[in-house]
């Protein structure tokens, strides 16, 4: 029985690795030959599907979305863990947050379109897209922050309070620094989700392939760019090239953030 189980586990694991490797290999094989300097031109034209504007848009949208969602998310998590009474309403809020993090992104997209694009009259814009995505990643940041706050031992809180520190000081000087690696990985996950998001952005930030002039202009992120290229059907090769670049960027972000987390943890 043990042996069969062990074999099964090995099998499943190798299937996972195989499919992962398969995808990566596929993108590399299909994408690498399609990379050309033209793809990195500053301007997007109908002849040259440059991905630089999309890259810039991605970065702008990510930064704005995070600027909004990180403070709100962290403070909400602090409230939930450190202040809220454990009553039924709190339970309901917790369930709501967990549910929100599982909702398909297209629903956020529709909400963003109705609320930001139409109701607040922002139009298809970087701003509407960023707002929508900040709402989308909020549950993720809240839950990861909450989890890591919960792992901080109560004895540390008591130690700080017993020295006469206030609750606020205890949270910001002791608890939050301890939770930092966890919070950080939540932010990384959020960046990943924003980078990979297309559905929610098509309805809110639009698909204009140029570098946005201001926050009210429409713009497409790399994922949307890829989606557009492949649905148009004319430039699937360029889509593969973009996919390759996107993959490299995400690998890079993961690598860098892992280094940062390691550094934070080591300092303790």
């Amino acid at each position: 029985m043990d042996k069969i189980m062990k074999k099964l586990i090995y099998l499943v694991a190798s299937l996972t690795f195989a499919s992962l490797l398969g995808i990566v290999a596929y993108i590399v094989i299909k994408g690498l030959p399609n990379l050309s300097l033209d793809l990195f031109r500053f301007n997007y034209t109908t002849e040259n599907m440059s991905l630089v504007p999309a890259m810039i848009t991605t970065i702008i949208i990510t930064i704005i979305a995070l600027i909004i969602s990180i403070p709100i998310g962290i403070l909400t998590a602090i409230y939930l863990v450190e202040y809220a009474n454990k009553n039924i309403i709190m339970k309901f809020i917790s369930i709501a947050i967990d549910t929100l993090s599982g909702i398909p992104s297209i629903i956020y997209g529709l909400f963003g379109m109705i609320f930001f694009v139409t109701y607040l009259n922002l139009g298809f814009s970087i701003l509407a897209g960023s707002f929508t995505l900040s709402i989308m990643v909020l549950p993720l940041i809240i839950t990861t922050t909450r989890e890591s706050l919960l792992t901080v031992s109560d004895s540390l809180r008591q130690g700080s309070l017993a020295l006469g520190a206030t609750k606020v000081r205890t949270i910001f000087k002791v608890v939050l620094p301890c939770a930092l690696p966890g919070i950080f990985s939540g932010i990384i996950l959020s960046i990943g989700r924003i980078f990979g998001e297309s559905a929610a952005l098509i309805y809110t930030a639009g698909t204009v392939a140029q570098i946005p002039e201001n926050l009210f202009s429409s713009g497409r992120t790399l994922s949307v760019h890829m989606f557009a290229l492949s649905t148009e059907g004319l430039h699937t090769d360029k889509a593969y090239g973009t996919a390759f670049v996107l993959m490299i960027i995400i690998l890079l972000i993961n690598f860098l953030s892992n280094q940062v987390i390691k550094k934070i943890s080591k300092e303790k």
Binding site: N85, S153, S155, L156, Q158, G159, S160, L161, A162, L163, G164, A165, T166, R169, K173, V174, P177, C178, E267, K268
Partner: protein
């Protein structure tokens, strides 16, 4: 002289009465030990003295505890905890450097000057008999210390805010015998300057270091007496049965 006076003190957790009508005077510059089986209320009483029980929502108390004749419930809790330090069962150094651990308390109470903090850190480490062991790694993480060193660091951290009373909640139960002895030695050297109250499961420890011992059972203070007296001729049969191991 009594440093802390406890008068008709009761404590409840929801419907459970954790402490029943406790009256005791804790003497200055003495080590007072609280002993008794788990759940007897000794830790609850300890935590009431610096109002750590305020943090437990379900905890309600009545009666009074006086610290230097001031009602602790009418004292600002920050100030109270500055004057009554606490060390916990498991060493709980903050995940920061040794220096920052000790400077945390003084900084909390508004000391910012580096020279002053340097002085406090060194003297606190010396008082806790830890200075020689850590003087070269004072800016390294406190989590790299051994369990016994961590606990002495926690004592140093508590001493850094210059309290008058030191409360210790089973401070050696997580430590090996050598570290335990070091802490016991330390406590005895500290009693000239501090009033020490220690909760312990280890009766031999109470015997070794304390001047007075209180025995608690089911939320009641059964007997409070000089340690020598309590352990050679206890007045109450329940005390006798507990300390001689003929309990329950």
């Amino acid at each position: 002289m009594s440093k802390i006076k406890i008068k008709d003190f009761n404590l409840f957790y929801d419907n459970f009465q954790g402490l029943k009508n406790i009256n005791m005077n804790i003497e200055e510059n003495k080590i007072t030990a609280f002993i008794g089986p788990s759940g007897c209320g000794k830790s609850s009483l300890l935590k009431s003295i610096n109002r750590m029980n305020d943090l437990v929502d379900s905890c309600v108390t009545n009666g009074n505890i006086y610290f230097d004749d001031k009602d602790i419930m009418k004292t600002d809790v920050t100030q109270l905890r500055k004057e009554i330090g606490m060390v916990f069962q498991n060493p709980n150094p903050f995940p920061m450097s040794i220096y920052n651990n000790i400077a945390y308390g003084p900084r909390t109470h508004g000391i910012k000057s580096k020279e002053e903090l340097d002085k406090i850190v060194e003297s606190s480490l010396r008082k806790a008999a830890l200075y020689d062991e850590v003087k070269d790694s004072i800016h390294k993480s406190a989590l790299k210390l051994s369990g016994g060193q961590q606990q002495r660091l926690c004592i140093a951290r508590a001493l850094a805010i210059e309290p008058e009373v030191l409360l210790l909640d089973e401070p050696t139960s997580a430590l090996d015998p050598i570290s335990t002895l070091k802490i016991e030695e330390l406590l005895q050297s500290l009693k000239d300057d501090y009033t020490i109250v220690i909760v312990t499961h280890n009766m031999q420890q109470a015997l070794r270091i304390s001047d007075n011992t209180g025995f608690f059972l089911n939320g009641e203070l059964i007997e409070f007496n000089e340690t020598d007296k309590l352990f050679t001729f206890p007045e109450n049969e329940k005390t006798e049965n507990y300390i001689t191991g003929r309990f329950g």
